[in-house]
């Protein structure tokens, strides 16, 4: 199975460990990734706040590049996933948008016929490969590990192509099949604040606090995310939460590909484990010969 890979900008910076673990896990699962050559930023939530059609056009450049490659386009960032999907839908359904964007692409000798499928890697791992085929490759079951899978928003909203917009279950099912204990985590699809954590940190920090409290109250040792922004928000602002609320949170948050890699028996370095801001050592070392 081969897919065209669109990493997105975060994966070149704060979410570098996500990129490293994505590539390692895909290799271990015989899932071929061909990075879209010379992709550009999807525009995220910011570009469309200033310009609408331009935002669709720059996003469509990526779809045009991916179309040449023929395979489904896989991204791991829910913001990219939503923007690319939205553009894709409008390029198919809204004649006026399609017309202008196509003209703009033509200026750069590109064209897009609307044939690309935009997918999230979680969807591909669970629905294209499937738990039955993953399980024989597992060398390290995650028995006893208490996790809170955190989905955030845009992986299932607004498009909800592979999971429920209100109560997603894909990561829950994946990791419980690998032995992990998925704790009750009712806030799993609530918002982390997204960009507001940067622009309005004093207000945004309340959202982070409620997520951390929910995970801790339900005895989670680890939060597992499928979004670069959720991950950094949950990790980077724990100290701020602790200062503001006089709490004592120290819950590591890692990417779902990192935890899947642990179960696949991949070494820490290949998964970029150890590059968290809140160390996952205490939680994950038991799988690497350490004591619990």
């Amino acid at each position: 199975m081969r897919y065209s890979y669109y990493p997105g900008c975060s994966l070149e910076a704060t979410a570098k460990p996500y990129d490293v673990s994505v590539r390692a896990v895909c290799q271990a699962l015989d899932l071929g990734l061909d990075e879209v050559e010379d992709w550009n930023c999807c525009g995220a939530t910011s570009y469309i706040s200033i310009r609408e059609l331009t935002a669709f056009a720059i996003s469509a450049r990526n779809l045009a590049l991916a179309e040449k490659m023929g395979n489904d386009l896989v991204t791991v960032c829910p913001a990219c996933y939503t923007v690319l999907n939205k553009t894709n839908i409008y390029m198919r359904e809204k004649e006026d948008i399609k017309k202008t964007v196509s003209e703009a692409l033509a200026v750069a000798n590109l064209k897009y016929d609307g044939t690309v499928k935009v997918r999230h890697l979680l969807d591909i791992i669970v629905n294209d490969i499937g738990l039955e085929k993953i399980n024989p490759k597992i060398s390290q079951r995650l028995d006893g590990l208490k996790i809170a899978p955190y989905y955030g928003c845009q992986i299932s909203r607004p498009h909800g192509t592979f999971d429920d917009p209100e109560f997603p279950m894909t990561m829950d099912n994946l990791f419980s099949s690998l032995g992990a204990e998925v704790v009750n985590f009712p806030l799993k699809a609530k918002c982390c604040g997204g960009m507001l954590m940067t622009t309005e940190p004093e207000e945004g920090v309340n959202l982070i606090k409620s997520l951390l409290s929910c995970a801790q109250d339900n005895k989670a040792e680890l939060i597992v995310t499928a979004c670069p922004l959720c991950e950094i928000n949950l990790e980077a602002y724990q100290k701020k939460v602790n200062r503001k609320f006089k709490t004592d949170f120290s819950i590591p948050a890692i990417y779902f590909t990192q935890l899947l890699g642990v179960a696949l028996g991949l070494p820490k370095e290949k998964l970029a484990i150890g590059r968290e801001l809140v160390s996952s050592e205490k939680v994950l070392d038991r799988f690497y010969g350490g004591k619990r």
Binding site: C9, S10, E12, A13, T14, A15, K16, D38, W39, N40, C41, G43, A44, T45, S46, Y47, I48, S49, I50, R51, E52, L53, T54, A57, I58, R61, T82, Y90, K94, I97, T100, E103, A104, L105, V107, A108, N109, L110, C153, Q154, R157, P158, G160, P165, E166, K190, C191, G193, G194, M195, L196, T198, T199, E200, E203, L207, A236, R275, E276, L277
Partner: protein, 188 residues
């Protein structure tokens, strides 16, 4: 300025109805599901439901100068839950765009600044270059607080999670052509 403002007042409703599926806004039943679902409505000057109502009454300033649209975190709960199928998150984006275009946004809010810097950075590099983006943002909005972010930045750096060099994509000229084509057509 006054002239553009008058023009906006005239076209305010039509502007919103012109975005994809924007006309559905006419079917709002004021049930408040959007406000109840919104994770940031308690931080807003007016809740999403109130904003729709004010919008339909043509209350330009109330809609655009309140912090409401800029407090939207794009979580899309309202969009998936609205019984009338209104894509409120997309409408918030259009209101943000109108606010920027006509300089009608809350002056102290940092989000419009972030959006502007994001667009400039993307136009310059083809990618969003987090380091440049955040440095510019903090310099512009809270230069005195920049020191507070040094420890986190340093830790990210030691973990190899900050990229120092910003690559410009090879197809930048093409990207610029695409952007310019649409801007010239005046339909951005």
């Amino acid at each position: 300025m006054i002239k553009t403002r008058e023009k906006l007042q005239e076209t305010f409703l039509e502007d919103i109805y012109s975005i994809p599926d924007g006309e559905k806004l006419k079917t709002c039943i004021q049930c408040g599901t959007c406000s109840a679902s919104c994770p940031t409505s308690h931080l807003m000057d007016y809740t999403p439901r109130q904003i729709i109502s004010a919008f339909r009454a043509g209350m330009l300033d109330r809609v655009l100068k309140s912090n409401t649209v800029w407090m939207c975190a794009s979580c899309y709960y309202c969009t998936v839950r609205c019984p009338s199928g209104i894509k409120l998150t997309d409408i918030m984006y259009e209101l943000k765009r109108l606010g920027i275009k006509y300089h009608l946004y809350p002056p102290k809010n940092a989000s419009p600044v972030m959006a502007r810097i994001f667009v400039d950075t993307l136009n310059q590099f083809g990618r969003s270059a987090e380091t440049v983006l955040l440095s510019l943002f903090f310099l512009k909005t809270k230069p005195f607080k920049i020191l507070n972010y040094v420890p986190m930045g340093w830790k990210l750096f030691t973990k190899g999670r900050i990229s120092i060099s910003n690559k410009t994509i090879k197809g930048k000229d093409d990207l610029v052509k695409i952007i310019e084509y649409i801007e010239k057509k005046g339909v951005a």
